[in-house]
């Protein structure tokens, strides 16, 4: 191409570049060769389309807080569902001799030093009562007399007074003594027997968070509690999603009288005080379901038996009342979306109402649905912990974070860790779900971001 022929063009002119256009029609022979496969693929894949989810994921990845929260959630899921297999204790296994362990221990030699020190400080001359009596008898026999019962009683009384005195004098504070001897706490709880076994070369799994009054390992119980909380949260959220999305979509799509009636029902349920009714439903259904498990037959019975009547009654209580918010949100979205042209087009093509809702309306408000579902999880966990705390949630052998906290209230000051550990796990779990939900909302619906 003869470059020099081109007229010098002013860089800002609006005139089309005629010279360039003319040269479009100049073809070489090799321009007519068919394109290779590689070239074809290059041509097609020049710009990859970014799907809705990819776009959202990209935005989510930039949100550090949400990503940290996601990490915490994944960790908690592993903690709750894989953790119990790694720890050799069961949640209702009573470890004899390992009751009331703190989440720390003292090494065996330190314990011996401590005992020796305490023994040294308390009067060493305290003889056991029987020894004293024996001694007195021997003395009496040496004198050729026999010890009368009255004298034995005297000795016993004397010994009793002595021990009482020594107990009072013996106000050696073990805590202070530990400091003086320079004995340090070591991580994790071991009972003395376990320490001895460990010293003998056996590998003993520590009670990382200590044990409770029956010698049950708190770590395992917290794991199972987290599992219960998380399953309740996720299942309840899914239940709410199913009921709420269907109800809201139908109500919004049908409109008119149907909508009016359905909305009145929603309003009534919305103003019912939830906690009150949930508490009642959970208490009332529990014995009914338990009876059903004991007497009933069929596949539903085994299903109920597997999940446990407590969890089921909680789901029912939750599902009955909490779908209202979800249905309101979906209805609002559907009311807007059904005005769109593609809905009219689908109608013109003869699609049924159900198909339009399933294939067109629901997918278009998926962002809202996901966010609401995600924010429903922490509120379900919240409710479960409340119920368990009041003693109407998950029952006896199965632990729950809420009921663990109630159990710990009695020994609150001595065994503070029993109260703090489940409370912290619960709070961290709810916090992580809340933060992740917020992040998800920002990522899925940038319009809402403030």
């Amino acid at each position: 191409m003869a470059e020099d022929k081109k007229m010098k063009r002013c860089p800002v002119t609006l005139q089309p570049d005629v010279e360039g256009m003319l040269s479009w029609n100049d073809f070489d022979a090799d321009d007519f060769e068919s394109a290779s496969q590689e070239e074809k693929e290059d041509f097609i894949q020049e710009r990859q389309s970014v799907s809705y989810w990819k776009d959202a994921w990209r935005r989510l990845k930039k949100n550090t807080v949400a990503m940290v929260a996601l990490g915490v959630i994944i960790f908690l899921v592993l903690f709750a569902f894989v953790g119990p297999y790694l720890v050799p204790y069961g949640y209702e296994e009573f470890n004899k001799g390992a009751e009331n362990l703190h989440p720390f221990h003292y090494a065996l030699e330190d314990q011996k030093r401590l005992e020796a020190e305490i023994a040294a400080r308390t009067q060493t001359d305290t003889m056991s009562v029987d020894d004293m009596i024996e001694q007195a008898k021997a003395e009496a026999e040496a004198k050729g007399e026999k010890l009368s019962n009255v004298e034995i009683a005297k000795i016993r009384a004397q010994a009793k007074v002595n021990t009482q005195n020594t107990k009072e004098e013996d106000a050696v504070d073990p805590e202070a003594l530990l400091g003086e001897l320079g004995i340090k706490k070591k991580l994790f709880g071991y009972s003395t027997a376990e320490l001895e076994r460990k010293a003998a070369g056996e590998s003993v799994f520590p009670h990382v968070f200590g044990t409770d009054m029956y010698g049950r390992d708190i770590l395992v119980r917290v794991m199972y509690g987290a599992r219960v909380s998380m399953s309740v949260g996720i299942c309840a959220a899914i239940l709410v999603l199913c009921i709420g999305a269907t109800y809201g979509a139908v109500s919004g799509y049908c409109g008119g009288k149907v909508d009016a009636v359905m909305q009145r029902i929603v309003e009534v349920i919305y103003s019912v005080p939830e906690m009150l009714v949930v508490l009642l439903i959970a208490t009332a259904l529990k014995p009914i379901l338990t009876e059903y498990v004991n007497t009933g037959t069929g596949p539903i019975k085994s299903f109920v038996a597997v999940l446990g009547p407590n969890l089921i009654s909680m789901f029912i209580a939750f599902g009955m009342l909490y779908w209202v918010t979800m249905s309101r949100i979906i209805r609002g979205q559907v009311l807007q979306l059904k005005q769109q042209e593609y809905v009219t087009a689908a109608k013109a093509l003869g699609a049924s109402g159900g198909r339009i809702i399933r294939r067109h309306l629901i997918p278009n408000c998926i962002g809202q649905i996901v966010v609401t579902t995600c924010l429903q999880i922490p509120s379900a966990i919240f409710l479960e912990s409340f119920l368990s705390y009041l003693g109407v949630g998950v029952s006896a052998p199965l632990p729950s974070l809420g009921s663990m906290a109630t159990d710990a209230l009695s020994g609150m000051y001595t065994y503070t860790y029993r109260l703090i550990i489940p409370s912290m796990v619960l709070s961290v779990m709810i916090l992580a779900f809340n933060l992740f939900g917020d992040g998800l909302r920002d990522a899925l619906d940038p319009k809402l971001k403030k």
Partner: protein
């Protein structure tokens, strides 16, 4: 002038219609809750007579007959509703035998209400200014700190807050034992501090979050720009122009918050052994004292529902932009 008067008249009529509609809805809801509670309670196996030493068949029958529990459920329900309309809540069967439920409620509710009211007051009085502060210092350190605190606050169930308070301020740390562990109304204000703080912490954080986002919304509005352009002082812009608009969504939430505070009361009252209605309600469920369960549920539910209604109506009166005719939208 005449036009204005007629507009006011129309408004009053619409308002009256709205109030009537809301009142009707509230009554229907209360009725439904009553029926639901009654049926649920009767579905539960076990009876209030069981837990003591097992009574004989004859005694059982006599007891059931005395309290009308031998009749079919729907007749019992009708009877109960009739009595309820007369203001008769029945008598306690077990916990305080033969004492009228209404007098029990009259004794216990003021305790709960006092704690709840103090908690709600501090939640709003602290939450709103904190929210304003966060919105005004948006993106700065103050905002970040407040956001962390508030997110933490809405992630902690009230029993967690209560236990942490107990462990730190009521004996866990010896030098910090300022407040009593067990509530005692006669001991003065010290008893109220911890329960009210525990109860109000969640609503406080929620209010602060709500206020912050509402404030941000209203700070972005055109009339704020106008106010700035006029050269108004910052304090005047915030308090006179932005806050008044931002408070509307906060007020809407006040109704549910009353409910939450009352229901959160179940837990906090159990932790601090407050002799309130919430704790009594939970105990009555465990004891299967039917009339007490019914009485407290109906009373609390009506209270919460009417509270919600009053807040909604006040909200519509306060904000003239809201169209009453459109109902709940």
């Amino acid at each position: 002038m005449r036009l204005l008067r007629s507009i006011t008249k129309v408004r009053v009529i619409i308002m009256g219609k709205y109030v009537a509609k809301r009142l009707g809805m509230a009554l229907v809801t209360i009725f439904l809750v009553t029926c639901l509670t009654f049926l649920l309670m009767n579905a539960v196996p076990g009876s209030p007579w069981l837990s003591e030493k097992a009574p004989s068949e004859a005694t059982l029958a006599a007891l059931n007959a005395k309290y009308g529990m031998d009749k079919p459920v729907h007749i019992q329900l009708l009877k109960y509703l009739q009595n309820l309309l007369k203001g008769d809540f029945g008598v306690s069967l077990k916990m305080q035998k033969n004492r009228a439920v209404l007098s029990i409620i009259g004794e216990m509710f003021p305790v709960s209400a006092k704690v709840g009211a103090i908690a709600l007051c501090w939640a709003v009085l602290v939450g709103v200014p904190l929210g304003c502060l966060a919105a005004f210092k948006r993106g700065k350190l103050t905002d970040s700190i407040l956001r962390v605190v508030c997110t933490l606050g809405i992630s902690m169930p009230s029993f967690v807050v209560a236990s942490i308070l107990l462990v730190t301020f009521a004996g866990g740390i010896a030098s910090l034992k300022i407040f009593p562990t067990i509530f005692d109304a006669s001991a003065g204000w010290r008893s109220y501090v911890l329960p009210c703080f525990a109860l109000g912490f969640y609503p406080m954080c929620y209010t602060a979050r709500q206020t912050r986002s509402a404030m941000l919304d209203s700070l972005n509005q055109e009339f704020i720009k106008t106010a700035r352009a006029k050269g108004l002082k910052n304090s005047k812009i915030i308090f006179k122009h932005a806050l008044r608009n931002a408070l509307i969504p906060v007020i809407t939430y006040l109704g549910p918050q009353v409910a939450f505070t009352l229901c959160g009361g179940f837990v906090v009252e159990s932790v601090f052994s407050i002799p309130g209605l919430g704790r009594y309600f939970v105990q009555s469920i465990q004891n299967r004292d039917y009339p007490v369960i019914m009485g407290t549920t109906v009373f609390l539910a009506s209270f919460i529902i009417l509270m919600n209604m009053v807040v909604d109506i006040l909200y519509k009166i306060a904000d003239p932009r809201i169209h009453l005719t459109k109902g709940g939208e």
